[in-house]
Subunit: 462 residues, 2 copies
Amino acid sequence: MLFFGKKTLDKKSGREKEEIKKPSNKKVSTKTLSGFMELLPAEQIVFNKMFDTIREAYELFGFIPLDTPILERAEVLLAKAGGETEKQIYQFKKGDTDLAMRFDLTVPLARFVAENWRELAFPFKRYAMGKVYRGERAQAGRFREFYQCDIDVIGDEKLDIRFDAEIPSIIYTIFNKLGFDKFTIQINNRKLFNSLFSGLGVSEKSAKIMQSIDRLEKIGAEKVEEELSELKLTKDVIEQILNFINLKGSNSKILQGLKDLSIENDEFKKGIEELEMVVNLIQQFGVPESNFRIDLTIARGLDYYTGTVYETRLDEYPEIGSVCSGGRYDNLASQYTDKKLPGVGISIGLTRLFDQLKKKEVIKTGSATLTQVLIIPMTENPELSIELASVLRENGIATEIYFTQDKMKKRLGYADKLGIPYTVIIGEDEIIKDVYTLKDMITGEQKELKREELLEKMRKGF
Amino acid sequence: MLFFGKKTLDKKSGREKEEIKKPSNKKVSTKTLSGFMELLPAEQIVFNKMFDTIREAYELFGFIPLDTPILERAEVLLAKAGGETEKQIYQFKKGDTDLAMRFDLTVPLARFVAENWRELAFPFKRYAMGKVYRGERAQAGRFREFYQCDIDVIGDEKLDIRFDAEIPSIIYTIFNKLGFDKFTIQINNRKLFNSLFSGLGVSEKSAKIMQSIDRLEKIGAEKVEEELSELKLTKDVIEQILNFINLKGSNSKILQGLKDLSIENDEFKKGIEELEMVVNLIQQFGVPESNFRIDLTIARGLDYYTGTVYETRLDEYPEIGSVCSGGRYDNLASQYTDKKLPGVGISIGLTRLFDQLKKKEVIKTGSATLTQVLIIPMTENPELSIELASVLRENGIATEIYFTQDKMKKRLGYADKLGIPYTVIIGEDEIIKDVYTLKDMITGEQKELKREELLEKMRKGF
């Protein structure tokens, strides 16, 4: 807590003079800004569990934690940004310095690797989980402050394609541990699009073509064809694009279909080869066939990814869109260094994911606390209560003592309201008779236990 | 990753038009702002361990997580601030909204409790651990972005004094788990100062008197006396103040000394009573006598705390100052609500603590990764490597596969540089002979194991 009195410099003593500001009666509104998520305890606990699950999985796969500042020099964060991106960024001046709040975790990673690459071992595998900021126009489901949970594998000059195949096994592990079984990791390779368009002589229009294709699911094939016509593409070109994106079915069928297109272009062939390798390795990683598939319409942005790209959809909630996306890029940090740093990574937008799952009532909140045992001392001297609490805590059991002198009903009401599973009442009678009551707040079951039995039970951690 | 191309609205189609910005050759500086800590992996890992230790202790004592926005309406954060505080705050406008970055975790807590008190169970015990921002003039050891790790117990209208006694046991648990045994929790009660000054008729000068007393350790008793004279206090008043702050020795001796002052003032007596109660209970909580003591010079700010106050010092590094401070206050959120919300809390400034311990070389960094096993596939098909990695990960062992086709020396060098404790090499020979080599990278010891032995060993988690 900073000191809140107004400080002014006392000219005589050179020290600060205090003028205590009187509290005014007018109350300040306590609403948070729109687009900023703030959770009540029961929800925060679930959110943290999801956060910890993701973190544990990232660590299990050998990723190293990195925590970069939220505030950076604007020049650093804007080195590559422009247009809409720049408008979204929270930017301001403090003194003479132009500052900006980070809008993703990739730009700070690029800056970090460029700055510290001599210190790092490559491939550099880092995870980062923190808040990022985008001052978007407020709309339902959009956040201005939100958590991103990222991993990236960065190579020095080169990065083996096999790392691309490991990523889906990480996605699989995470969504599995989050309690989902019906989800699909969609995989594509940007080399296919890129070379297809250059082969057809429509590279310049590739951005717009991809925009149409990206919306295939939303607007349907007919509308896509219509939009492509508007771009003044020839019938033949449109046909070839549609032949490509219409390749559907099992992964092996799509791969065969791609080969059957007989497109004589090295990059296209390379794209097929990479896609095939990734898909085959994914199976070795133990990801079930039902949880991943090639989807040739997945593009992921326009100028950034250069190889494998990923999106992840919850099969039962397709309207949420992709919950985990990413891909392979050729060069992470060209704005900061001449070092060539290829990488592959993914990002989970946890705030949005949590919010969407909450709205769909997929998220079940439980207790509004992590406390497992509430000890209720009924005597003036809480010595035994404190002793019990200490034993429990030494055994890793989160424990509270209800010190406030309230009526029993209110004390038990506290445990009820928070959802604390066990209470122990410790009064004069209990101490004299050496019998204590352990109450299971869920079943209502009560057990009378002697002091040593109670301690023993608690030492065992139930 | 946001899209980086400049977007402009294409008037004809109504859709966005892409102009890909060419990367310039001029590189942007990759330095972070001064006052913003960014750690390399080996340090980040230690930092995170400290963070997790604090979090676990907070949860063990029944505190509930709360995560408030970093950015709030300026009006909310500045409701009580003024003067120097206000100057330090990062404030800016986005559109029509005046925004500010939080400068502590207490103000957002006050706002949260005022907004949600109907939803909460009281006493509301919350922990919050996150970054806060103060645009102070840059100086050694001062941070502009830093982690605070706070707990507070908030009562609705009342809060039992026994909660004050539980706080030092939390501090003790944390610093113990952080590996310290020589530290002292210093305890005082602000009622003593407050009533002493009012009894002596010098309340108006209390702020300045406390400033002098606060610097007792720094400037010495003689200089304090001199400064008090400058405040035009009578000899008698100065003597009584010095009698008070000179009470030293064991806790019981100080308590006796306070009683012997025979100050006939209800608040002073209440202060002694509270202090005595807290000190006695602390012992019941199992905090050794060597780790806490009454220190009547501890004041902690000027207008905020109203009862028990705490500071914590590492005995071997007194120059670091207090590493965990806090206290009891009468009313958390008067600027937001008419509800009376007394509370008691502490804060650990983790960024500064880490930085100071690092400079004193107390912090020993180990591995630059959390990975325990590096699997090195020497065959084109990494199937067995992937299988082993999966088994290890299922057993909770952080594992990496070195997919890059480098020379063996470089691969082992990667494990060496990061400090990965074990490597397993899997080549053609190994697969044919069904014998694999598990190398302990620290002792250099190598064990030849059959596939099943290796898997068995790994399933057991070493």
